[in-house]
Symmetry: C2
Subunit: 365 residues, 2 copies
């Protein structure tokens, strides 16, 4: 269903492990675990799809282990869909000394410094063993602020690698998504999107965003990419998770999101609420018997006070991280459900306005 007054749309993504209602937020399970959450916790939160990381899982525990355990779903006890990134982003952002070659990248493991080679062939082989429902193509992610020449050459390489990825063997039922690159250059973004559509993928992502650029550059890069994508395929904006940005992207027709924000902020002691973000650890909440977010229906808010969660965080109890992660993910899941309901109901514009005014009132607590 498409909103009459914006590009916002709802849909259903069919995968080998079931259906996903979009727009959807994918919690990040980098190392085969969404930090501080069990699969049972995630099911209670109605999480419909997770993200796993090729780069990290390939280093630890390694493919031998995951293959012995019957793939990533069986390994981590998660029966719903999984999307795996290709490792491209991590190779370019985490790895130290690296050498970019025609058929991939040689780099040093961030664990033990050993030399590893990753290219389209390797990334697709790893994702085949992981058995993810959605595999991402292996791409080069140019840094923010790079020259047009660099962005152009990098994009050409990413397109060639994407074509190579599309020819690789897949796990049964595995979908493969292309990734639009092109840096901050509109024409490159559009060109890349058209080339990928020419190759033909099950879905398309906008990559190389949320790498330190200002928000207007991020949104413009996304808009250029999305404009060239076919309406009948899912669109995924990689790594973007600020709620205000999700709303803007949804308005432009984006269907899928992932971000470490809800889980990472929880571990830093910050809570997401309808009124923004606030630090539960702050001294102001020492005697506060209200829940982390008033009116919230999550396990944390229906059972515990801010004073308790603050205490747990301040004395370093693991339960504090669990409870706040649970709340933040609940908030994100509820946010996406509200977006879907608003688009279906034809009141997405009103929902955005309401969201904006609540956030502007701000303070979080």
């Amino acid at each position: 269903m498409v909103d009459a007054r914006s590009g916002a749309r709802t849909g259903v993504l069919h995968t080998a492990h079931g259906c996903v209602e979009t727009p959807v937020f994918m919690p990040v399970g980098t190392q085969a675990s969404v930090k501080a959450m069990s699969p049972a916790d995630l099911e209670v939160l109605d999480v419909s799809i997770l993200l796993g990381n090729t780069y990290h899982l390939n280093l630890r525990p390694g493919m031998e282990v995951i293959e012995a355990c019957g793939g990533l779903h069986a390994f981590m006890g998660w029966s719903r869909p999984i999307l795996t990134d290709s490792g491209g982003f991590q190779v370019f952002s985490l790895a130290g000394l690296r050498k970019i070659l025609d058929d991939g990248v040689e780099f040093s493991s961030h664990i033990d410094g050993s030399r590893i080679f990753l290219g389209p062939v390797e990334a697709m082989r790893i994702q085949r063993i992981l058995g993810s429902d959605i595999a991402m193509v292996f791409d080069e992610c140019p840094p923010h602020g790079c020259t047009r020449d660099y962005a152009c050459q990098s994009m050409e390489k990413s397109i060639a690698w994407a074509a190579n990825c599309s020819e690789q063997l897949r796990a049964p039922g595995q979908l493969v998504f292309g990734i639009v690159q092109g840096g901050a250059f509109d024409d490159l973004r559009r060109h890349c999107a058209r080339e990928l559509v020419g190759i033909g993928f099950d879905g398309y992502a906008v990559g190389g965003v949320s790498v330190g650029e200002p928000e207007d550059v991020l949104l413009r890069g996304m808009e250029q990419g999305v404009a060239e994508l076919p309406p009948d395929r899912p669109r995924y904006l990689m790594g973007v998770g600020r709620m205000s940005q999700i709303l803007k992207a949804v308005a432009l027709g984006v269907d899928m999101f992932d971000c470490v924000m809800p889980t990472r902020y929880a571990r830093n002691g910050s809570a997401f609420t309808r009124r923004g973000v606030y630090p539960v650890k702050a001294g102001a909440y020492r005697l506060d018997t209200r829940p982390v977010e008033e009116g919230c229906g999550c396990y944390t808010c229906t059972h515990f006070s801010r004073a308790y969660v603050r205490h747990l965080l301040n004395v370093g109890e693991i339960l504090g991280l669990q409870l706040l992660t649970q709340h933040n993910l609940f908030r994100y899941m509820a946010f996406m459900a509200e977006i879907r309901a608003a688009v279906r109901g034809g009141f997405f514009r009103e929902y955005r306005r309401e969201f904006g005014s609540l956030h502007a009132a701000g303070g979080g607590a």
Copy 2:
């Protein structure tokens, strides 16, 4: 019910927050949380009573916070019974510079070094605010290896403090337990027990054990204490949690136990099984698709492999601690349920033999 061929017995302890079947193991929730477990997790594990720590809770979050939140049960979202220790053990084992006076101990906080005074009056006041179902008297816990003179003077002081505690105001329905001291000296242990029984408490604990002494000294100290205690009152062996020691103590008529072992070992990567303890982190389990303990019915063992739990522990994922804590507590709860069933069924001796031979076969995994 009392076993015909030993002192082992089953019973029901009635408290303001419900009944506890004994013999019982109390998981330790030092800072108002059993590490890595939510109250919901503990209820699933059938935990019937928790232990909280006066010393720690008084420092953080402090009584003002717990009082504002309506007591320890409401603060931590736990509706079943709670036993609180008096802080005596911590003052003597954790606190640095301290000065023992007639009416208590002055010591430095391990958090910020501030000077704090704790005696029978203060310890009972704190436990009254905490609202625990069972409060322990404030005692002096002499170090292992102390002289008879020291042990004797220390015991006299503990008896005087116990008498003082028994006269303090209590929370509604709060039970108070005396603590038998006396170091490694049989006659002192017996004398102390008789004096406490003379004062009259709702239950009796054997304290000053598991402080580094050899096991035979520990068991002998316990035996001497228990021998003088009335059969119609619960008996609690403080801080003892090795399964083989629990069996020996149950055989001598002890009803209650607490220990950090199952939770602390989990965080160190070790699993308790019917065959002993083993390090799940070990490389030997890298490709092991079996559960942490074969045949175990806990959430961890019914959903995940050793290979997965080992991976989580090795990459530092919080979920690894959660899953292994859950398993270890499940094992302890099952162990106590088996003991109760064996005593009731009249086959406690056979159960001990079976337990011993399985453990002797050993290895854990």
